[in-house]
Amino acid sequence: MSLTLYHRHVLEDYLAGFEAKANPNHLSVIRRPAIFSVLAHRGNEASVKQALNSIEGALLHDCAPGEWLVVSTASGAAVVENLLGEITGASAIDQSDGRVLLRISGPNVRKILAKCVAVDLHPDAFSIGASANMLCCHVAANLARTGAEAFEIIVPRSFAGSVFEEMMEMGREFALTAAFAEW
């Protein structure tokens, strides 16, 4: 007997049937991103970071000294895993099924996020390319700034529903919409 496994996103029930035309303030739920947690062995922090930065199509999120999340929507998890395996002095583990990637953007994104995180997101304090672990809607998440009005949020899969609902509520006054996106 063969077993067929279907990919079903954890936010499927939150979004199916509610997807609307995107408003200026919009939250995208990325369907199948490749997310890897990478830890540099002691003394290899700088060389590992350099190697990670040179991976094409992957975005590096800072977590802690010598720890990153590598996110790719362009390549699948198997491709990224092979590339990470070539880096010496680092350990990588596939988190693609354990984390959910959200992208929020729009003219009011900072006003929405001000109700979700307790970190100053002014461009002087948190510039484009900056990223860090922080509490987002009471959940330990990773937040990265990808543009002047665009952020990426990575949350643990089991908390994604709670974070999603709270963010939609915080965005209601700004007509925040949400939908799945392939990348």
């Binding site: 977590c63 802690a64 000294p65 307790a118 970190v119 922080m134 509490l135």
Partner: protein, 90 residues
Amino acid sequence: MASLITCPHCGTRPKEEFSIRGAALARPHPAASEEDWHAYVYLRENPKGRYQEYWHHAAGCRRWLIVDRDNVTHDVFSVTDAASIREPSE
């Protein structure tokens, strides 16, 4: 009163991101006497005033930090990564 701690890795964060794990005491030598170990494990001064504590940045970098603060006024004098003060003899 806002209780903000400036993590050396993550920047200024609210205390909700941290888990306070008690006085930052020097660990006795493995061959130290039973009295020394008993004191290290169980006995605490619980001072009023300036105090060094372990704070775990649970929702941030997940590093152990040593927060030097006054527990009456909540003046924070320094926040350092606990690994940076590890004894060289280790």
